[in-house]
Symmetry: none
Subunit: 135 residues, 4 copies
């Protein structure tokens, strides 16, 4: 699992981290039940504060993507992952709306926009490195 943080980004570090962990889960790079690095270890590896890592972990625990145990540490939700419930779909719409609007305003065609999202979806679901030909 390779994590890359952009310290210059306006996106908070803890969110960048959480997003990439979700992407790892989505792609299968992180499997249910799989242990994640301890907050300290990951913080050291990424060169950030352990509280920042902890905030990302807590957020994902809240969303049902992770479980946090006392000794066992942090593991990917071994049961069923959270579902695309109504609350999620509404959040999704709220977040997609301004992106769709700006695409329209900039004259980007529906086909172009959908193609872009489709490509992303497939890249995430089946990343190049997954089951790849390791050298």
């Amino acid at each position: 699992m390779f994590i890359e943080l952009d310290l210059q980004s306006e996106v908070p570090l803890y969110k960048q981290l959480a997003d990439q962990l979700v992407e790892g889960i989505a792609s299968g790079t992180l499997s249910p039940g799989q242990p994640l690095p301890s907050v300290r270890t990951l913080a050291a590896d990424l060169g950030i504060n352990l509280h920042t890592v902890n905030k990302a972990y807590q957020a994902l625990k809240q969303d049902g993507f992770l479980e946090i145990h006392r000794k066992q540490g942090v593991i990917v939700q071994p049961g069923s992952q959270p579902s695309a419930d109504e609350a999620f779909r509404q959040r999704l719409q709220r977040d997609l709306r301004p992106l769709a609007a700006e695409s329209v305003a900039r004259g980007m065609s529906e086909a172009d926009l959908l193609e872009l999202l489709r490509t992303l979806y497939r890249q995430i679901q089946n990343p190049p490195s997954k089951g790849g030909t390791s050298s």
Copy 2:
């Protein structure tokens, strides 16, 4: 042009405002060259701070959606609207990526996700109120 702000949202007011102005441009509710209310007027109408309106206007000017003149006031970009250039597409990808990832992780199908975005795109491009009986 009807603006609706959610004071309880986690989305900053200036961004909500900017987003809705872009949506107005996308839908054609706001036409090129059309004058917008002054910062003062709009702030009063919406019951928000001058700075907030100004920040939204400045951001849209920066993006090329608006022109701000000292005397004339604020008008929708009368020339060519900003295009879906590479910079925009990259920003789009960066913003769509975590949404696509969480959709995959939550087991939302590609078709479902694309359908949701398609519906949004069409709603914005051709809103129900467009072509209405406005005076």
Copy 3:
């Protein structure tokens, strides 16, 4: 609203604080829409760190008891308070069970135990200081 923290208690400070705020809401001492002190102010008043106050506020926001706005600060949920849904009742049972068990083991009668809870409930719902005769 009078807050009292026990620094010696094994109960985390942020939970003590959150509990007392909920009690304030329950008793009506804190009314819907009422503003709460800023994290900094309350932290200073209580002599604790602002992060501790923030943690309590965030937890209550998560549960739907509070709203946190950018400028307005923190206010008691002006809409409908969270309800006693199934999730809450299960949590309640889980927490009450060991207390009931120890009461039985110590030979405390059902009537005694229920009376104790009833008294608490009424004290909270209608505290002595509410509508009292202020000197």
Copy 4:
């Protein structure tokens, strides 16, 4: 005596264990003078750490529910069980108070709350499995 531990719970293992032993005593499943498994045996049976079992036993000895002898091993307090003294009632109140408060805040009626506790009390005092066909 059937012990069930939830490794994913936020409640510490030693407390889950102690709680269930108390519940066993309350229900009569564990009778005064009855021997309990050794720390080693119980830890092995439950698949947990020795320290964890020991901590639970020590806590219950401290409260007067158990006696621990070097040779004899651990037995349920053969004399009089600890009583519902003032210290216990105060602890009980302290623990019940936030639960009562949140119940009030969530609009749960006094009758509902008391009924819930009454049901728990009776379940514990006279569990379904009690009076069964155990040898």
